[in-house]
Amino acid sequence: MTRNPAHPRLTLAITAALATALGACSAPGESGSESKSTSGPIKIAVVNAQSGQLSSLGDWEYKGAKLAVDEWNKKGGVNGRKIELKLFDDQGDPTTGTNIARKLDSQGYIAMIGTAESAVTIAMAPVLQQAEIPNITSGQSDKLVAQKSPFLFLNGPTSTTYDTTLAKYLIEDKQHKNIAMITNNGSFGKGEHDAFLKAAKDLGVTPSTDQIVTTDQKDFSSALTKIRAEKPEVIFIGSEEVEAGLIVKQARDLGITAPFAGAAPQGTPVFMDTAGKAAVEGTIVSSPYLSNDVSPAAKKFADAYQAAYKEEAEMHGAKAYDGANILLTALDTSKGATGKKLADAIRATRHDGLLGDFAYDETGVGITQTAIGVIRDGKLVAEQ
C-alpha cells in the first residue's frame, strides 16, 4: 500500500519548478512557460475556493469577475483580443494555492483575480511576485499590504479601514463603552481582531472581554457565556460568514440580546441565513458596498448580475467586478502589456467603481473608506 509513497503536491511543485527553470532554455515554438504570447486570447485566471466552507465566497467572486469579462468581450475584448477566464479551485487552502500559483506561471496566465482568503493570497504572493503576475485579490487582511509585493492589489479596503470606521461609529457616534469581542484565530479573524482592538484603544475603549475561537469550532457556549456575563452593549465579531452565523444564532439561544457589529461577512446572505432572520436584526456592518441601491452603477450591475445568474448580487461579487474592471482597463490602456508594465498600469488606473473611486498607491490599496449599515428586516440598509 505504501510501496510508492505518493506526494502529488510535491511532485506537482517539482514539475512546475522544473518547467519554470527549463522554460528559459526551451526551443522556440515549444508551448513552454514564461512565453506570454502577444496574440490569441488573453489568459486571466480566477483562483478561489470552489469547495469547502468558504466556497460561497469563491462562487460570488467568480460570478462578479466573469460578469465584467463577459461585458468586455461583448465590446470586442481588449486591444482586439478576447479575454479567456479560467477558474482554479484553491479549496481555501494555502498549499493548494501555491501550487496553482506555479501552474499559472507555467501555463502563461498574465494576471490573476482572487483569492477571497487572505491566507491563500499571502501564500501565493511570493511565487506570483517572482513570476511577475499581477494579482487583484479580494482579501482584506493588513498582512497583504505587509507583503510589499508590487504585483499585489486589493479590490477593497483593508481590515484597518473597515474596523476604524466601525470603532468610530460605535464609540464616538453611539457612545458605547462596554464592547465585547469574539474573533477566530484564522487569517481573517486575526486581522479583524488586531485592527478593531487597536482602533478601539485609540479611541480610549478597552473591550470588556476578548474571546478567541478556532475556525472550525461548532459550539461557542463557553465563549458566549463569558460574554453574556459582561453584559456588553455591542459585540464585535470577526469571523467568516458561516461561523459568524452560528455564533450569532447560539448567542441568541443563550439569551444575549446585544447587537453584533462586524465587517464584510456580516452583510452577506449566507451569514443572515445561517443565523436566522430574527437573530441578525440590528447587526451593524461596516462595508464599502451596502446594497445594490447605493448608486445607478450599482443598480445596473445588480440587474446584469440578476439576469446572468438568477440571484441577487452582493458585496463580494461587486468587489470582484470592480477588480476585474480595473485589471481590464489597465490592460486596455497599456495595450495588452504583461508583467511589471501591467502592474504599473494597474497602479496608474483611476476607476470609478461600485465601491467608490479607486486610486492605488504603492501599498496596493485602492480604496480607503467604508460606510456603516444596519440589518433591518433581513436587509442591509445604510445607517443615517
Binding site: 500500500m1 466552507q53 466556497s55 462562487d59 472550525d216 459550539d219 457556549s221 458561516v242 439561544d253 439569551g255
Partner: protein, 289 residues
C-alpha cells in the same frame, strides 16, 4: 458555575451527534473489520438529503429524516456491493475504496447541490428552556433523545434479533459463521446500510445546528472517528461514551484554551489513547486483516 454548566450542555448536544457518527463507524468495523472512511461523507449526503426533503419538498422534518435515512441506507448498500469482491481478499484496497467513495460523494454533492451550501432552520420553534440560568435549546434535547433511542434500538437489534445475532457471529468468526449457514455477504450489507442510516441520522440532525455543505463530513468525521477510538473501536456503548466525551472535551477546551482548543483536545485524546490503546470499552484488538 453557570458557565461550566452551559459549556457542558453545549458539549453534550454536539457530543450526541458525534456518538451517532461513532456508532456507525463501530458497527461496520465490528462486523467487517473495516474502517469505512466514506462514513462521514455519507453523513454529509444524509444531511443534504434530509434538508432537501424538509426545505424543498416541504415534508415534515420527521418524514424528511426517515426518507433521508432510507436513501442513504441504499447508498450504503451500493458501496458494500461494489466493495464485496474484495471482502476478505485485499483489505488495503477495500480501505482505499472507501476513501475513494468519500471523495466521489463530495463531488456528487457539489454537482447536485452546488458549492454554497445551505442553512437549515430549526424544526423546533419554541424558545430555549431556562434552567437556573442555563439555557437549553429544545432542539438539542430532541437530538439527545433521538440519539438515545438509536443506541437502545441498535443494542436491542444486535442482542435480541436473529439477524443481529448473525451479525455478531460474523464479527467473531466469519468462516465459522459461513459454516453454520449465515450469509456473510448479506450480513455485511446489512451492517453497511445500518451504518449509513446512522450517518444519515447524525447528518440530518446536525443540519439545523450547523450549516450543510460538502465539507460537513470533515467536521463530523474526525470528531466521530476520534470518539469511536476513544470509546473502543467496535464497541457500541464505547461509541456513545466516546462521542459525549469528545463533545464535552471540545467545548471545555474551547473555553479555556481559546485559539489552541483543537490542539488541546487532540493532545488529551492522544494521551488517553496511549494510556488505553483499546479505548474505554474495547476488550481486544480485532484483527481481520
Amino acid at each position: 458555575m453557570q458557565e461550566t454548566l452551559q459549556t457542558l450542555v453545549g458539549g453534550l448536544s454536539l457530543g450526541a451527534v458525534y456518538a451517532l457518527v461513532a456508532m456507525g463507524f463501530s458497527l461496520v468495523y465490528r462486523t467487517m473489520g473495516l474502517v469505512n472512511f466514506a462514513h462521514a461523507d455519507i453523513a454529509m449526503i444524509g444531511a443534504y438529503a434530509a434538508s432537501t426533503f424538509y426545505l424543498t419538498s416541504k415534508m415534515p422534518f420527521v418524514v424528511a429524516m426517515v426518507v433521508a435515512i432510507v436513501v442513504t441506507g441504499a447508498i450504503g448498500l451500493v458501496i458494500e456491493r461494489v466493495l464485496r469482491p474484495l471482502e476478505n481478499k485485499d483489505f488495503d484496497l477495500m480501505l482505499i475504496g472507501t476513501i475513494g467513495f468519500g471523495i466521489v460523494l463530495q463531488a456528487v454533492a457539489i454537482l447536485i447541490w452546488g458549492t454554497t451550501g445551505r442553512a437549515v432552520p430549526s424544526p423546533v420553534r419554541s424558545a430555549p428552556l431556562d434552567v437556573f440560568g442555563v439555557r437549553v435549546r429544545t432542539y438539542d434535547l430532541l437530538v439527545m433523545a433521538v440519539a438515545a433511542f438509536a443506541v437502545i434500538g441498535l443494542a436491542w437489534f444486535l442482542a435480541r434479533t436473529k439477524r443481529g445475532a448473525a451479525m455478531q457471529a460474523v464479527a467473531m468468526d466469519h468462516e465459522a459463521a459461513t459454516a453454520v449457514g449465515i450469509n456473510v455477504g448479506r450480513s455485511n450489507a446489512l451492517a453497511f446500510s445500518i451504518g449509513a442510516g446512522l450517518a444519515a441520522l447524525a447528518g440530518g440532525l446536525v443540519g439545523p445546528m450547523l450549516y450543510v455543505d460538502a465539507s460537513l463530513g470533515g467536521a463530523l468525521g474526525i470528531k466521530g472517528f476520534a470518539a469511536a477510538m476513544l470509546g473502543g473501536f467496535g464497541s457500541i456503548p464505547g461509541a456513545v461514551v466516546g462521542g459525549l466525551a469528545i463533545g464535552v472535551l471540545d467545548s471545555y477546551a474551547a473555553g479555556h484554551f481559546q485559539g489552541y482548543s483543537v490542539l488541546v483536545t487532540f493532545l488529551v485524546f492522544t494521551a488517553a489513547i496511549m494510556i488505553r490503546p483499546m479505548g474505554v470499552f474495547g476488550e481486544r484488538t480485532v484483527s481481520r486483516a
